[in-house]
Symmetry: C2
């Protein structure tokens, strides 16, 4: 059975399956080596993610180890919605910061229970461009657009910090996307399409960071074998031998 | 467990995972409804594909139906390499046409054995642009390029016909890509990048044909539920209820 890499998160993970998305690029990088499964849920916060946990990552895996296997790696990429401000137009998505940390802990603990060897990577939310969010709201609702921001970069930065702290506390790897993106001049429009979601270049940053952290751990496509022989390795007069070797 | 759609084939399936590929578009269309798994093997013909069959589609599925499930649909997309000419530079990939038909029969029979309800779609090889193949060979090898074509459109057309005949004989659906592409003026460069592999527009044709045939059977993403509630359906004061309903 081919190893699986699961990308678990909100819309930024769900949309990673679109053309130019970081999930697509990752899947292509692991072509014939691992399957990349997208488990992205637009609009979800960590509170709602908890309801999915046992179905997406069933402990049943432990009982049927010959036929099913947990993923070799999982990225956990929530926080952009948790950080929506209380008392503003996206209030329903808001999760208090301590609860956000506790929810991340629950997710990581559950994954560790599924597999002690799973590579777990926490990803912080990307930064917020408030101007971009305003322009987006106005493009949708015109004069009826909300007057006050529903997310700020400052508050999202607190959630990013909380995510990093939780990763360090739990001893799992992390990507501080909030900080990383802001190292580049013009990140507001270069990486964000509507002040929150990712442009093609923003997707490329996530792809580069995820592959970097995977490699720094132990998960490098260059070191993984193809699932079956490359066609050039097959002796056309005696094809069996290439496949027998593979099975040894 | 989310339904799976498997794309089984040669390089034209393997490359479908690249940006703009038909596999990526298909995966995006079935986002949160089914996983699209790419099982494409560049350079492979149906003879070599047979060696993979029991590992990619294990009959073990029948024994562990609670934990593992066969795919709901599989595309079988071989023939471009089988149709390489005997006695020419790609001879090692050549499979005689009657053996090609017999191999397709074996693949289909095996999939039917795995699951009597699996939607099976045979796809013929695309047409060949001999001029494009020559230009490609010269771009690689210059004056040392082979003088005689290794594939011709006429012979590939015979394999396409054999593929259609086999599908009709076995009562499974098919896509005659060889014919379909040639309905469009300028198909040689519009759909083929090197006289054999697909351009972005060529990928779009395969995507459209596969989704059409899937829908004509019964597999339509529009009629499939999301795996979990859309975020707008979640009552933020009582999120449990949305997920309880889902479990009923």
């Amino acid at each position: 059975m081919r190893p699986q890499i699961v990308l678990f998160g909100d819309s930024i993970t769900e949309q990673s399956l679109r053309a130019g998305g970081w999930g697509v690029d990752l899947a292509n990088t692991f072509s014939r080596k691992a399957d990349v499964l997208i488990r992205g849920y637009g609009g979800y916060n960590t509170k709602w993610a908890l309801f999915l946990l046992h179905q997406l990552f069933p402990l049943m895996w432990l009982l049927f180890q010959d036929t099913t296997k947990p993923p070799v790696a999982t990225t956990i990429f929530f926080g952009a919605n948790d950080a929506a401000l209380s008392g503003r137009s996206s209030e329903r998505q808001h999760v208090p910061i301590e609860e956000y940390k506790e929810n991340l802990r629950k997710i990581v603990h559950h994954l560790k229970e599924c597999s002690s060897t799973m590579l777990i990577v926490l990803i912080t939310p990307p930064p917020i461009c408030e101007e971009g969010r305003n322009a987006f709201a106005q493009s949708l609702y015109g004069e009826n657009a909300r007057k006050l921001p529903e997310r700020t970069n400052e508050v999202t930065g607190q959630y990013a910090k909380a995510c990093v702290e939780t990763a360090e506390e739990l001893g799992v790897r992390f990507i501080n996307l909030w900080s990383k993106m802001q190292e580049t001049d013009g990140w507001q429009k270069k990486f964000l399409s509507d002040g929150l979601h990712l442009t093609a270049e923003g997707n490329a940053v996530v792809y580069q960071e995820v592959t970097r952290v995977f490699k720094e751990a132990w998960l490098s496509p260059d070191e993984m074998p193809l699932d079956f022989p490359h066609h050039s390795q097959i002796d056309y007069k005696n094809p069996e031998s290439a496949f027998q070797q593979k099975c040894l």
